[in-house]
Amino acid sequence: MKGLFLLVCWGLLFFFCPSEARAVQIHGPPEGLYVHMMAHVFFTASILFFFYWLRKHPVPEGKGWRYLKLSLLFFLLWNLDTLMIHILSIRLPEEALSRPSEIWHHRLMPPITWERFLYYVGRFDHLFCVPAIWFLVQSLKSFLAEEASAAG
C-alpha cells in the first residue's frame, strides 16, 4: 500500500510541476522541403518499380497500355525535373533571383552559369506534367473504347 501511495505522489509531482517537454519532436522549416523531395523520390521509385514489373509481366498490346506507359514516362521525367529544381533552388543564392513587387520584372540574375541555366529551363516543368496527364486521359479513353468493343 505504501509503495502504491509513493507511486501516485510521484506521478502527481510530474503532473503539477512540468519542466521542458522533450518527447515531441520539433519540425523546422527545411523539413517540409525534404519531405516534399522524398515524396518525389518515392513517386519516381514507384514508377520505376512499375516499369520493372511491366517488363517482368508483359501486359496485352493496345493503345490503353501504350498511353499509360507514356504517361508514366512523362511523370517520371517530371519528377526528375522537379527534384532537380528543388535541389538547384537550395543551391541558388538569394541574389540570383530578383523579385521586385512588379511580377513581370522578376529575373534570374547573371552570371547565368550552367546551374542557373538548368534551373531556368527546368522550371518549365509543365512541359512534362501536362503531356503526362494528357496521355493518361488518352489511355483511359482507349481502355474504355476497348472495353466497349469487347462488350460488343
Binding site: A39, F50, W104, R107, I112, H126, L127, A151
Partner: protein
C-alpha cells in the same frame, strides 16, 4: 549573358496549371466511367485512384500557381505566404498517394492473380468433382443394368465357347502345371477311348503318349517355345489300341505353380491309314507292271518250249523212254505257264476281255463253298455263311471271283491247319453302294511284321514247294481289276469278330452294278 526573365515560366505555370486541372478532371471522369463499367477490374481501380490523386495534385498545384498571381495582384501577397505551406503539403501528400498506388497496383495484381489461379484451380477441381459425381451417379443408376448386360454378354460368350468346346470334332484339352488333364471336351474323351470325362480328368497327359520319348520331346518344346504346332505322335487309347494324332498347344501360366498348357488334338489315324493304303497301292501297281513285263517276256519262249516238246513227243512216239522225258519237259513248262498266267492275273493283263456279267455274290460264294466244304471238313474246318439276302448284283467275272474266294479259303485253311472255323459274311453298304464280302478264320493270324507284304508276289510263309506266293497277289489283282478293294485285318477290332475268335479277316468290297 543577361538576366533571364521569369515571366515565361510564370505564364507556362499558369497555362499548364489550367490544362492540368482540365485534363485531371477529364481523367477522373473517364476513370470513373471505367470503374463503373467494371467495378472488379484492378487496373481500372488503380487508374481511378491515380486519376483522383492527380486531380488533387492538379488542384493543389494549380491553386498554388494561380492563386499566387491573384493574391499578388490583389495586393495581399501575405495571404499567399499563409497558403503556400498548405498547398505544398497537400502536394506532397498527393505524390505519396500516387506513389503508394503505383507501388501497390502490381502487388495487388499479383495477389489477385494468385487468388484467381487458386480460384481457377478450385473451380476446376469443383468441376472435376461434379463430373465424377455425375459419372458416379450415372454409374449407380445404370449399375444394375450394366451388370445385367455384362452378365448376359458373358453368358453368351461362355455359351459360344462352350458350344465350340463341346461340339468340336477335335479334342480340346487343358493341362495343369503338373501335366495333368484338368479339362477335356467330349471329342477328346472319345478319342482317348473313354466314356466319361471324369475318367480322364486328373490323369497325367504323359499316360496317353505311346512313346515316352515323344512326351519328353513334346513337353520340352512346349516349355522352351511356349507353344507347339502340329506335333505328330501316337496315343494309347483306353482299350490299348493306338491312334495317330497331331497336337497343337500353348503353354499357359498357372499362377505360382508354373506353366500348364491348352491345345487341340486331331485324330489322323484315318488319314494315316489312307496314306499307307495309297502307298501300298502304288507299290502294288509298280509290282504289277514289273510282273506283267516279266510274264510276257517268259510266255513266248515258254510257248516255244512247250510246242517243241509236244512236237517231239509225237515224232518219237515209239521211243517210250524219250516220250516220258519229253512229258516231264511238257509238265514243267505247263507249271511255268500256270505261274506266268497267275502273274498276268495279278498284273490284270492276262485277259484283255474278262467275261464280266451281272452276278450274285451270294450265289458265287455258295457255289465255291459247296465245292470245297467237304475237303475242309476233312480237316475239321467248318465254314459258316452269314449272307445278307437281296444283295444287289455286281458286274464281275464269275470264274475270277470264284478264284479269289478259293484263294482266300485256301489261305484260311493253311492258317488254321486242323480244327477251326471259317466265317463268310456278305452285306450291302448303302452309303458307299458297295457289296462287301468278309472271310474270317480262327487260325493263327498274321504277324504284324508280314502284314504289309502278304499281297506281294511270291511272298509266302509256307515251306518251299508248298506254295508259289501268288495266291493273294492274284486275288489282289482280280479285285483291283473289278474296281474293288481288298483289305486284311489281323486281328479285326470289332467285337463281333472277337466274340467268334476270328484272328484274320479279309474284307473285299465290290461296286454294285447299275
Amino acid at each position: 549573358m543577361k538576366a533571364l526573365p521569369l515571366f515565361p515560366i510564370y505564364i507556362s505555370d499558369f497555362v499548364g496549371s489550367i490544362l492540368m486541372l482540365v485534363f485531371s478532371l477529364q481523367a477522373y471522369r473517364w476513370a470513373n466511367k471505367l470503374r463503373s463499367s467494371q467495378p472488379q477490374n484492378v487496373l481500372f481501380m488503380y487508374l481511378f485512384g491515380l486519376s483522383l490523386a492527380l486531380v488533387a495534385l492538379s488542384v493543389s498545384r494549380s491553386a498554388g500557381h494561380m492563386l499566387r498571381f491573384v493574391f499578388v495582384y490583389a495586393g495581399v501577397p501575405e495571404w499567399w505566404h499563409v497558403m503556400a505551406p498548405w498547398s505544398g503539403g497537400f502536394n506532397t501528400m498527393t505524390f505519396v498517394a500516387v506513389g503508394v498506388l503505383t507501388f501497390y497496383y502490381p502487388n495487388v495484381r499479383r495477389a489477385l492473380e494468385l487468388v484467381e489461379e487458386d480460384a481457377r484451380k478450385l473451380r476446376q477441381a469443383h468441376e472435376e468433382l461434379e463430373k465424377a459425381h455425375a459419372e458416379l451417379k450415372e454409374l449407380t443408376r445404370t449399375l444394375e443394368e450394366r451388370v445385367r448386360q455384362r452378365t448376359h454378354e458373358l453368358i453368351v460368350s461362355e455359351q459360344k465357347f462352350r458350344r465350340l468346346f463341346e461340339s468340336s470334332e477335335d479334342g480340346v484339352f487343358f493341362c495343369d502345371a503338373h501335366g495333368r488333364l484338368s479339362d477335356i471336351n467330349p471329342s477328346g474323351v472319345e478319342m482317348l477311348g473313354y466314356k466319361d470325362k471324369e475318367e480322364v480328368i486328373g490323369r497325367p497327359m504323359s499316360e496317353f503318349f505311346l512313346d515316352p520319348e515323344d512326351w519328353q520331346l513334346y513337353y520340352q518344346r512346349l516349355m522352351r517355345d511356349g507353344y507347339i504346332k502340329d506335333f505328330e505322335t501316337r496315343f494309347k487309347r483306353a482299350d490299348g489300341s493306338v491312334i495317330y494324332v497331331i497336337i497343337s498347344a500353348n503353354a499357359i501360366e498357372c499362377g505360382r505353380n508354373g506353366y500348364g498348357c491348352e491345345g487341340l488334338i486331331k485324330d489322323i489315324t484315318h488319314f494315316k491309314k489312307m496314306t499307307e493304303k495309297l502307298i501300298y497301292s502304288e507299290k502294288m501297281a509298280s509290282l504289277g507292271q514289273l510282273a506283267a513285263g516279266i510274264a510276257h517276256e517268259i510266255n513266248t519262249p515258254l510257248g516255244i518250249i512247250l510246242g517243241y516238246a509236244q512236237l517231239l513227243k509225237e515224232e518219237f512216239v515209239g521211243n517210250k523212254e524219250l516220250v516220258e522225258e519229253l512229258g516231264i519237259i511238257e509238265n514243267q513248262a505247263l507249271i511255268c505257264r500256270k505261274i506266268v498266267s497267275d502273274l498276268l492275273s495279278f498284273a490284270r493283263s492276262s485277259d484283255p476281255r474278262p467275261e464280266k456279267e451281272l452276278l450274285s455274290v451270294n450265289d458265287c460264294i455258295r457255289h465255291t463253298v459247296d465245292m470245297v466244304r467237304h475237303t475242309f471238313e476233312m480237316d475239321d474246318i467248318h465254314i459258316h455263311l452269314h449272307l445278307q439276302e437281296d444283295l444287289p448284283p455286281v458286274f464281275a467275272d464269275q470264274d475270277r471271283l470264284n478264284q479269289v474266294i478259293v484263294n482266300l479259303l485256301n489261305n484260311s485253311r493253311d492258317a488254321i491247319g486242323h480244327g477251326g472255323e471259317i466265317h463268310i459274311w456278305t452285306y450291302f453298304d448303302e452309303t458307299e453302294c458297295l457289296v462287301t464280302i468278309e472271310i474270317g478264320d480262327t487260325g493263327s493270324g498274321i504277324p504284324p511284321e508280314v502284314k504289309d507284304k502278304i499281297f506281294d508276289p511270291f511272298f509266302t510263309t509256307k515251306p518251299p514247294g508248298q506254295g508259289t506266293g501268288l495266291g493273294l497277289s492274284v486275288s489282289y489283282g482280280i479285285i483291283e481289276e473289278h474296281e474293288g478293294s481288298i483289305e486284311v485285318f489281323s486281328p479285326p477290332e470289332e467285337e463281333k469278330y472277337k466274340r467268334l475268335g476270328i484272328k484274320t479277316l479279309f474284307r473285299i468290297k465290290l461296286p454294285v452294278a447299275f
